[in-house]
């Protein structure tokens, strides 16, 4: 390492810092011990640095700067927590939307209790609008399998006489978030009977098992009953007595 290189390194490297780990700096420092001229130069250089550093570190700082900095920080903090009119409106709108969404979600996840009468009315309305079967099969087991795959009641037990009628097929409908099985039958007289099946747990007020409730809704005869697991509503345009005979 020549003198010029040593001076270059000695000028920018600082003792007492990580610069000391620099091998080139260590070599330059070794050169000082071996070269009296370089040593003298280095002492002058260090004195120059010390004087510059001491003078510059005494450079005056405005007396009010500290107070201004702290005051500004307080203002910044209070501004950060002071909502503007737009922020308030935005928060209110977001709150209303969130509550609305939660209400709808709640309705979806926890539908309002469905009574047996409500379910019967839904069944009649559905029958009036027509419920063409989606899965066409006369085979009850095939229907059960299809309904099971669609998470609909599939383990229902129908009265024997009704089961003897010609099966038309089945489908599912949703009533207040509950999946309902719809099974169609064709009677020998040409009329249809449609049975709606829902889980008994989905109803808040179900008819006690074994009790048959008969009534007429407009031109339709309606029969309701339940077993331990499901609630059934049969809807048909046959006279009420004829429907009762099937059950």
């Amino acid at each position: 390492m020549d003198k010029t290189q040593a001076r270059f390194l000695l000028r920018c490297c600082r003792s007492g810092t990580t610069d000391e780990q620099d091998e080139a700096f260590q070599e330059a420092r070794q050169s000082i011990l071996e070269d009296p001229d370089l040593q003298e130069w280095y002492h002058r250089e260090m004195a120059f640095d010390r004087e510059c550093r001491d003078k510059l570190q005494q450079f005056p700082v405005p007396t009010d700067l500290r107070a201004n900095l702290i005051a500004a920080q307080r203002a910044q903090q209070s501004q950060a927590f002071r909502p503007t009119r737009q922020m308030v409106m935005g928060i209110a709108a977001a709150l209303v939307m969130t509550l609305g969404a939660l209400f709808l979600l709640g309705q979806f996840l926890h539908p309002a209790p469905l009574t047996a009468s409500d379910f019967a009315r839904h069944a009649v309305l559905a029958d009036e609008h027509g419920n063409d079967p989606i899965f066409l099969s006369e085979n009850l087991d095939a229907k059960r399998e299809w309904l099971s795959r669609h998470n609909a009641p599939s383990e229902w037990v129908l009265p024997a006489d009704l089961s003897k009628a010609t099966g038309q097929g089945c489908r599912t409908v949703a009533v207040k978030g509950n999946t309902v099985t719809v099974i169609g039958f064709k009677l020998a007289c040409g009329n249809d009977v449609t049975v709606y099946v829902i889980s008994r747990q989905a109803l808040s007020q179900a008819t006690p098992p074994g009790e048959l409730v008969l009534n007429e809704e407009g031109r339709r005869s309606v029969a309701r009953w339940c077993d331990g697991k499901f609630y059934y509503v049969a809807v048909s345009q046959v006279p009420l007595n004829r429907l009762k005979d099937l059950l």
Binding site: L9, R14, T17, E51, C52, R53, F59, Q73, Q76
Partner: protein, 177 residues
């Protein structure tokens, strides 16, 4: 660290560094203010307390770069032949007060006075300066060498011709390059 403790620990050093960059007290105070404002927003992201100081200096320097007029002429002389350092005259710096010396420092090109400010004001090593300014180590070393030479020349010229001291009317020059 509480904000007041942070201010007490660093505001003077940051202001001096800001002054060496901006070359006037108003801009220096603004830069210092802005640095602490950025701390207020992002300071919580710093997990290692040892990095707070260099973070503050780096932030101040970035703030300076972002607010500086882009029309300012930059002197990129990394590829100029290396100047040989002058022989220092013993104790001639002692004939200047701190403001006059800061004025001489402020006369240097920005790329030279910035690392030299960190070197003198905060006793940073060249490696730390390299980290703060985000420039290569070799570049910092070259700039420090040139900066010292320029500062010494400037001081010697001033002592021989005190009337030539132009500081603090450097702001317009700085803006116009």
């Amino acid at each position: 660290m509480q904000f007041q403790d942070l201010v007490d620990s660093y505001y003077e050093a940051l202001y001096r560094f800001a002054y060496s960059l901006a070359r006037n007290s108003e801009d220096a105070a603004d830069l210092t203010q802005q640095t602490f404002a950025v701390w207020g927003e992002k300071g919580h992201q710093i997990r290692d307390p040892k990095k707070v100081k260099s973070w503050l200096f780096t932030t101040l320097y970035r703030e300076f770069l972002s607010t500086r007029r882009h029309s300012q002429r930059m002197v990129y002389d990394e590829f100029l032949p290396e100047r040989l350092p002058n022989e220092p005259d013993e104790s001639f710096v002692g004939r200047l007060d701190s403001e006059a010396l800061m004025a001489k420092l402020a006369e240097l090109d920005e790329i030279h006075r910035t690392p030299l400010s960190l070197y003198y004001l905060e006793d940073y090593s060249y490696k730390e300066i390299s980290d703060i300014l985000e420039v290569p180590i070799g570049t910092v070393m070259s700039r420090l060498n040139r900066a010292k030479s320029q500062l010494r020349d400037s001081i010697q010229t001033h002592l021989k011709n005190p009337d030539l001291l132009s500081f603090p009317n450097l702001d317009s020059n700085a803006q116009n390059g």
